[in-house]
Subunit: 457 residues, 4 copies
């Protein structure tokens, strides 16, 4: 087998757990799990004898199959299920010829493939919920730890009012919590069997179709959908979109961190300096590997989500091209999401924050970011218009001269008339103009606690 | 003002109602609604005098503003709120100079713009819920009317087992119902005010920030989010994705209908033949205008959704480029969704179904689509393997000779030994091999009833 | 190593040749080819001794490296070049310690990785040109063979005037020829080395930088770009887009073929009926595997192209996330293009055309598609308006009664006054109303010949 | 007419010139230009009388048509050409009833609409070439002006070797030059008439079809394609992609500039500080409006390009949905490209560069970015390994102590043994370690000159 180039990047862009879930071995096993469960459900419903079911189920082990041959068969047959079911039938025929005709009985290839995918998504969603739990916990800790860490707020990459690093992290947390909520909400819609037979009517099972479907779903720990969904693909596109929202949120965090890690800003760092690739003459060059991997995922997932959406208008009872377009796209989204989550959790566990630099950076603006605070305070004495005019003039002077605003203000009689030097110092201190940063952060923590408390299923 | 070319297609690609909601007049009014509600909330919280609030609110009428000038100001200032707030301040200053400094007090442009968008989305979601209700009702009627209409099932555009047209419509309904469900589920997450001031801390309102936020949200009939979301954009991307799932589902219906309308298939038609553009020498050329418009939407929305997702990693406290990328994209998705829904509802109201053609098309396959049915029945007498071999041979002969399968079977002793001619006729009759088509359709109707019963909010 | 699920579909969705080109072995070898060529170029330019270059080059064999370890190193270092260069340095150090410091001398990881990618693209473009040559030849044959095969023209999936199958194929050919032309045109822009050192200035090579660059490029059979392009990524996005245009064109062909293969239309087939996966009771069910694979590619490539475009705004001298987003995306586009081409060539080599059905389908419209022809002929006698009115009436009657238009016309005195029965028959014969179908097809063949004659480089 | 909300942003996101080209008036006029040219070409070829052509052409003025009514007709007929041709026919019938049947003779709606679009693209491509010319000239000036302006090179947003601002601008120029080259190269492929009649055969014109096509093309200053391209859409997708490459390149420039404008970096600014929207207490807050608009375009265009690509697989002789999906998408790409170009040209005309800050920023890294330079120089005396070890130690000390590297080096005997203090100062001076920055910039200027010299057609 030719090992694809992308394999070299597997461990960079995806987690090992997700790789296992979307490995060829797991996929084949998931198809076989469907076949075994189907046989047992049919036995339970009286469609086939118990022994037949047992004979079939006994062979449903991925390791008994030559996957290279299955891949070759796939190229000819158009999907994995066809050669796999054929190979399973051969195996069964060797030990119990009478059981062979009942392998895959009443099901279509798509029943097997879609249900297998859902079984894999089930595992993936469990992993994502757990990973998002870790991420949210780490973010919540960050929020709590930095509720008083003054940080320069920046809008359009320009200085704005002071904020706290806790509030910034609360924003990241808030999106992650909603992401987790959405992934939980879609479970009942998505975690359902696909089972309809050749055209979605379960015709070959006659009146026992729903009984078989129910038993099948139960044994696979899935729901029974209203109707088979061979060409109604909104469920899968929904999973892709919900993961895309998670990745986009992580991308926002990664972008912020990468900007804060710039040499000239120096507020936050991806754990120890000097990553492996850095030239050893630049010991303080910071690693941005996690941010790179997350931002790469945030660039790649939107196109993959668009593919799932564009593939939705599938023809009649089974799509021609649209269905096939999903096969790599949704697993790819899961892999990239896992990688982004993995890096996010890692970054947070080793994140170094330089609160001194955080405090120094607003200072370096000459304090004019506090102009609004001063103007508001002064307005109470001289009215808003006059206050605004006075402070504007002072700020302009601070910028021109390079003096700190507080030093300029101390020379302005209109201000010293109303405020003591200590009061002026306080007005010009970012930590006294943080508004509700802390209360708002608290609200994000409460949302996290609310979701974290809920069961995932 | 230059009227853009796309205006010529407005009524083709979007509904009038949605055009109103995303008109410049409505957008400006929504911003002004925010400003008025803000003033009143601040008065209620004791931040500004009641008269000041009244003075401000009195001017918050879109028709008082010169929108061409606002557009010019937008090109300079970078967003609509800046010139609009400036113009509002001028108006207020003329009637109540003391109130002027309190226009937009404590808010940022983005507070106004995002909340205005949410107000518009609120209206849009109401319209979508109603439209989806109409669509689902129409689809439910279609399902009920055609629960016995035999139709050739087609997988990969090739003949498969028979289905009912009711079941096909149930598949469309099922996706539409989930689409409606998702749009309802996101309301509490999405329908929240944006209110954080210059950097998201509400600093200028000091301890009264949350009180103002709560009053503001209440008067706009919105929720209060945990934290301001100036650069946490998952809510908006979520709306785009949920609408994309609706449009993809409509695209599936439109694709099916357009295929059924082909001259050689002739099963379903977009109301009267001979649309306006058809050459008058081809009176039976069918209109496909609705299908075209819906499929066009299904091709365009995925790219727009991808834009919203790709724009998520926005910098620090306000994005630079990402935020601006949303401004047209989300309204565009709403417009295209409205158009797709409009055409879908129209098509269903005038849909002509030719049940005779539906029944004739499977017949034209020579009846081999019933081979499975015959083989299953025969298996009870001769075992599955022998039955399969016999029926395969008969089907091959039917295809070669062009005879109907039932006619071939009547000449096969192995079959006439076990079945009477009447029984063979029944085995080869598609309407006796529809499996659970009807039960499954019923399940989709039940899901529709469940959702339709729920309140939309 | 975990083998990914997608591996099961490799042979369905991509060609073996392209898999080789984008295998991990080939990628690593391409990086090593860069390193060997760099050492030799530096020796040639007098930067390092010849023996040092030889010592380095001698180890530049992919098979000497443990790729699993390189993959592990990649996860830590952030790209493949870092651990690979480290491993190469170790190897060199063992045989020639003095040479070790000159491994990768003056180059950055990105120099190695980008040039390796370009080397792989070079091979891929050669393969694509050859494959497109085969495709175009096959299409040209199809055009020639079917220049007289009457086919129902279909617009918006509804009957239009008659065309020839040759003209339809000429349309496919025309797009393929332009696709080939574009891929040739971009070669000089794209097939250039990446070589700039740590920040694009080649500083460590001092005045010998350009000499080394030129020698490096020459020995790799690439060009020297104006400036290093570490963060100017239009070249790569251009390759993706040009391939996307090829795939979109193949998608158009596949869509047409899949529609022509519908049971009710039955005009064209993907070689033998009864693909492996078809139920054996439906021997005339047609394979659509090639069309599915091509249409799946046509759905997936646009999202991948969008990713490359969205990744273009890369930061400063090397992107953070944007660069990484390209790594899988461009190879993936190449793989999917190769698969679509492979299936297209295969389909054309085995394509079965049913010219009788092609001729029968327009007949089944009752001949009204020739109404325009009759009206034009009649207009010469009675003027256009009267002619139009008469023919419209006749067409309406043909549709109502189910008669053929020619039979209706024979009963209309206004027509028999001017035309003999034989003339009316001819007017109603699609093969006499094919306009310039043949001349236009000839023009497409001429374009193909023009391009096919040109050298590919 | 409802004016859409996006109208408020027209002047922010697109140029006035491009708005004119894609206005409804221009589009309607372009369709009418096609109709007039068609009539004249048919007269020239002897298909219709000269007077008939004149009678038709006389009415082909957009201002004679009620565009609101055309829009209404469009919603019913499915495209603009149908109601417009009907209205034109009515006008002609009033003045010359005999000419009326020859309006639009032999053409299809799509012939008119596609050719109109190509006529608009022709104008757009002329504008883009001119605008790109201005942009490239401005960039070339920037390159020339800053060939000696030392700038900190930054890879992955971390400090790397020094570069020049000239070289950075040369990278922007290089992409823009290639963008211009591509747009010129596609003109002969794209600037062709669409003319094939109802199904692409020109049947109603009989043997005169190509004569008419040639005259039509000539009078519209377009080429004649090999075959009609009603459902072969690669030409249009190609235009979208080529513009996408331009926008992506501008996005890269905008991203760089926005990063350089950060308060803590302060190297480059979008003309005067204090944009209209900035709070007046922050007089040095920089405008980022141009960067925002460009980056927004760079986020939006990829999705629109993907739509054009995804729409390519259009059915048979005219697409159902795919064609309609292009109608807004390609004009939208043109508008966004025009806006990005407009802002780019504006930014460059007012760009303020702070070369002192540029020089100070590398200084602030403590000079360790020159470690490589020192190590290379030292290697000539003590061999590479020892040199590397010595310099690494010195750099580590510089970082720990906060001293400049040059000051650390002066205390190292191993270095003072080989270098004088002046030599060490020079080794640690970024302006002596710029490699080929200037030569490479020169090469980009040469490419620009080469393209600028070429005719645009």
């Amino acid at each position: 087998m030719i090992v694809p180039q992308r394999g070299l990047y597997n461990e960079l862009f995806a987690s090992k757990a997700m790789h296992e879930i979307f490995s060829e071995r797991t996929h084949v096993q998931a198809i076989l799990d469907f076949e075994a469960a189907l046989a047992r459900a049919e036995a339970g419903a009286g469609v086939i004898p118990e022994e037949t079911a047992s004979a079939i189920a006994a062979h449903c082990r991925a390791k008994r199959f030559d996957l290279e041959r299955i891949a070759e068969g796939t190229a000819v047959a158009g999907n994995v299920a066809i050669p796999l079911v054929a190979a399973l039938t051969d195996l069964v025929a060797r030990t119990d010829p009478a059981a062979a005709p009942y392998v895959h009985f009443g099901a279509s290839s798509q029943d097997a493939l879609d249900t297998a995918l859902v079984l894999q998504l089930h595992k993936a969603l469990d992993v994502f919920d757990a990973e998002l739990g870790c991420l949210c916990d780490a973010l919540a800790n960050l929020v709590r730890r930095h509720r008083r860490s003054v940080l320069l707020g920046r809008t359009s990459l320009q200085p704005a009012l002071p904020v706290t690093f806790g509030l910034k992290a609360a924003g990241w947390l808030s999106t992650a919590v909603r992401g987790r909520e959405r992934l939980r909400a879609l479970r009942p819609r998505v975690l359902v069997v696909q089972f309809g037979g050749a055209a979605g009517t379960l015709a070959s099972l006659r009146h026992r179709g729903l009984d078989v479907a129910t038993r099948l779903a139960q044994s696979l720990n899935l729901g029974v959908p209203d109707v088979p969904w061979h060409s109604a693909r909104d469920r899968l596109a929904e999973v892709g979109a919900a993961l895309g929202l998670v990745v986009g949120g992580l991308g926002k965090m990664a972008r912020d961190l990468s900007l804060m890690t710039q040499r000239e800003i120096g507020e936050a760092f991806e754990s120890q300096a000097h990553s492996r690739g850095a030239p050893s003459t630049m010991p303080d060059r910071q690693s941005t590997i996690a941010a790179s991997a997350i931002l790469a995922a945030a660039l790649r997932v939107p196109g993959l989500v668009a593919t799932l959406f564009a593939a939705m208008p599938q023809e009649h009872e089974r799509g021609l091209g649209g269905w096939q377009a999903e096969w790599d796209s949704l697993p790819e989204i899961c892999l990239l999401t896992s990688g982004a989550l993995m890096h996010a959790v890692r970054v947070l566990s080793g994140l170094r924050i330089d609160t001194e630099r955080m405090r120094a950076n607003p200072e370096a603006t000459g304090g004019v970011i506090l102009g609004e605070a001063v103007a508001l305070a002064l307005a109470r004495h001289v009215g808003p218009q006059k206050a605004q005019a006075l402070v504007e003039r002072a700020c302009a002077r601070a910028v021109e001269t390079g003096l700190q605003l507080r030093d300029v203000l101390e020379t302005e009689r209109e201000l010293t008339n109303h405020f003591s030097v200590a009061e002026l110092q306080e007005l010009c201190d970012p930590s006294f103009y943080l508004g509700l940063a802390d209360d708002l952060s608290e609200r994000a923590l409460a949302e996290h606690a609310r979701i974290a408390g809920g069961s995932e299923k």
